[in-house]
Amino acid sequence: MNTRTLTTVAAALAATLALGASGCSGGRDGEDSARDGRGSAENPATANNGAVVGGAPEKGGTLTVLSNTDFTHLDPARNWVMGDMDFGTRLLYRTLVTYKAAPGAEGGELVPDLAEDLGAPSNGAKTWTFRLKKGLKYEDGTAITAQDIKYNVERSFSPDLPGGPDYAARYLAGAEGYQGPAHGKHLDSVKTPDDRTIVFELRKPFAEFAYATVLPTFAPVPKAQDKGPQYDNRPFSSGPYKIESYARDKRLVLVRNTHWDPATDQVRKAHPDRIVVTMGLKGNQIDDRLIASSGADASAVSWGKMRPESTPKVLTKADVRARLLAESSNCTEMVQMHTGRTPFDDVRVRQAVQYALDREAIVTASGGPALNDAATALMPGSLFDGKQPDTLKIPLTGDAAKAKELLKQAGKPDGFATSITVSNGDKGVGEAIQQALGRAGIKVTIETVDPSAFYDTIGDTENRTDLVYTGWCPDYPSGSTFLPFVFDGRYIKEKGNSGNHSLFRDKPTMQRMDEIAAMTDAQQANQAWQQLDGEILAKAPTAPAVIERMPLLLGANIAGAYGHTSFGGQIDYATVGLKDPAKSAG
């Protein structure tokens, strides 16, 4: 649920692992759901998983998106939040490569977008060449050029434009210390021999570079349109829609970009004529409107997760339940402890937290068992052939006596006081944690932070609280996209830290990670990651809590909708449309 997690590009194996069939979301995958025992047959919320809801959409009409919040960034150089990337790259700008528009596991497959293919590696995968399709145009009819993509990659380095993915900075040769194109300086490692060819020179061989080019960083921005930080308010369109008006935090209206040529685009269907995003609505009111689904609301979808309070109103009515998407977010939420500070530098104290935690209460606070699964391991089930193992065998409701005993051994028989940071929406979870740890004598103060500021707050390693409640999502089924991001001490940053919020710096763990990363046999590496997961769990840097779904309500007139597995379960905006466009308010 770390929204910043993305298409992390990692070593090897995407292909061999057959991308997905993630156990907890595998509604259509009979074999998998039978194995994990949590399949769609038992869960009323997941009946739609892996399927397209509402049938095939008709062209035209207005699609309304009801949102409680504004987008963090729509500037392609700064857009690095799951849902925002879905919205931006599916509607407003195209990237070199993108994900297939399909429900379920197929959504993890790459397809060419601006490029003609998935890129041609050479020089031992250190050089990547992409060739653009013919006839690509911006919203004003001018041609999209390779230089424009290079320009956006360069501007993503600009200190004025923070927030975006840093993959270009990590992988491009000669990128150290580069500050963007402001003073006429350019990156020599990105070459554009002609208007339709772009070549990337990397620091080291990187076989999966195509995954990185899905990121908005690799979308075109024409230099003439760049307005620095203001570009965020009006990105220039290369996709099927352009911005008619954008009042921050209020309303975004998209209309068709008539210069977009569907013949060049095999992903985006662009069914609606207009897309209107209304922001700043109350979460509960959004749910109520979509449950009622009357008038223009029938042609609306929700942007944010359905509120847990709305669960009874949805799950008890078959007709409403049929309009619920609940694709697994595939992210493990954890209580992460600051292992660098007392008392959490003591493994017994951390184990006490693992034992004291009441995961059943956390599941209830997150919306109940229909929308969450209690976590028993660090990596989600999809990385364990469908089901997480339970190596610690702690009862779901916790074991306060054992926790007390551990605290006693650690020299804290009377417990201690500490604090936890949770995102605003997770206040209920915070209280469940507070209550559970309180049973063992750990007195917890809850700090709630606005979602927009959450990751920056917990990323400040010096000033943050001892405990934080957050998670991580693998980007495709490989342990290499999970454990190294959450438990490798070498990736810790003093400010803007992400992933490793337990600040876990364990030498044997890091050593083992390097060993596994060097393995060539995918199967062997996979098993090694699974084993390492249990070893790390025993050292207790975090206490895994739940694996959440992304519950999204649809109006009755919505067609072609599914939660996209590669965008954290957000609706795929490339294909969503209306059953009857005439019914939507123009």
Partner: protein
């Protein structure tokens, strides 16, 4: 009011306080609101005792009382009212609502009363000083009153509460709420003092050589007591509502501490799925505010019939 007073048969020569008490006793609205206030004050004072009687502490989860598959809705009718949970339970957590409502009363009423005490003390002191000494003192204090009243108080309170971290929330809320209320009462007292300070008995005391301190405490303060009492009762509901509003906006008490405002804020989301949860703290707040308003109205009619309002 003179007409109504004469209808009660009191012995001639009864003091003003006796008269007031008799008049108060006569009104039904006063009797009802007094008993409501007494009930809630008792609830607040005896909160730990009462919740022990109910068998639940306000922070204790009861998972057996909620249905996790329905987003944590209470099991049973009317928000899970049962022999075990007298007023039902909070959705999701299953915390006992009776325990939370009485502890919430404690927090809400404590903040309201303490803030009122600050306001009344500061306001009376400022008002008497400004009125009695006049001149430059009066000018300075009056300017200060104008200035304080020009502050957008709710916005300012929210801002101050959000800037200050790691302090005792209840104490901080009390002080912040108290900070903006005093000019109202200061103006009333100032006006009253102005009219009192040239009465014959005050002049007589002055001529007899009494110092200003003695005159203030012996002659002026008893004279302003009536309006101050009436006014105090009338600002308490405002204080309760302000506490609730701040907690509602999330800058009030911290979880798991309950207060009525916090409870209402949490329960709004459940108003249609678990109406009892929403109605309970809301009606407590409503009844308390209503009772204090009615009581204040009556006291003002009796103690301050000419209405020395601002």
């Amino acid at each position: 009011m003179a007409a109504t007073l004469s209808s009660t048969s009191l012995p001639a020569g009864s003091g003003p306080w006796q008269l007031a008490r008799a008049e108060l006793r006569r009104r039904t609205s006063v009797k009802i609101s007094l008993s409501v206030v007494a009930l809630f004050v008792f609830m607040a004072a005896a909160a730990p005792l009462l919740s022990a009687l109910g068998g639940w502490s306000p922070d204790e989860f009861d998972k057996s009382a909620v249905d996790p598959y329905l987003g944590g809705l209470p099991i049973g009718p009317f928000g899970g009212i049962s022999a075990d949970h007298w007023l039902g339970v909070e959705p999701v957590t299953g915390r006992d609502l009776f325990a939370r409502v009485v502890h919430g009363a404690q927090v809400s009423l404590f903040i309201a009363f303490a803030a009122t005490a600050i306001v009344v003390t500061a306001g009376t002191a400022a008002g008497v000083t400004a009125g009695y000494f006049g001149g430059r003192t009066d000018a300075v204090l009056s300017r200060l009153m104008d200035l304080t009243m020009s502050f957008p108080s709710l916005i300012f309170m929210i801002a101050m509460l959000s800037v200050a971290k790691d302090v005792n929330r209840i104490l901080l809320m009390t002080v912040v709420i108290g900070l903006f209320g005093w000019p109202g009462i200061a103006r009333v007292v100032r006006g009253q003092t102005l009219s009192l300070k040239h009465r014959e008995y005050v002049d007589a005391a002055r001529v007899a050589g009494a110092g200003p301190w003695r005159i203030l405490s012996r002659d002026i303060l008893p004279g302003v007591a009536g309006p101050v009492i009436a006014y105090t009762t009338l600002i308490i509901p405002g204080m309760i509502a302000t506490e609730a509003a701040l907690s509602y906006l999330g800058v009030g008490v911290r979880p798991p501490t309950p207060s009525w405002g916090q409870m209402i804020a949490e329960s709004v989301a459940f108003y249609d799925t678990d109406p009892m949860y929403f109605i309970l703290p809301s009606s407590c707040l409503f009844l308390t505010v209503l009772a204090f308003t009615l009581l204040g109205d009556a006291l003002r009619d009796i103690l301050d019939p000419r209405g020395s309002r601002i």
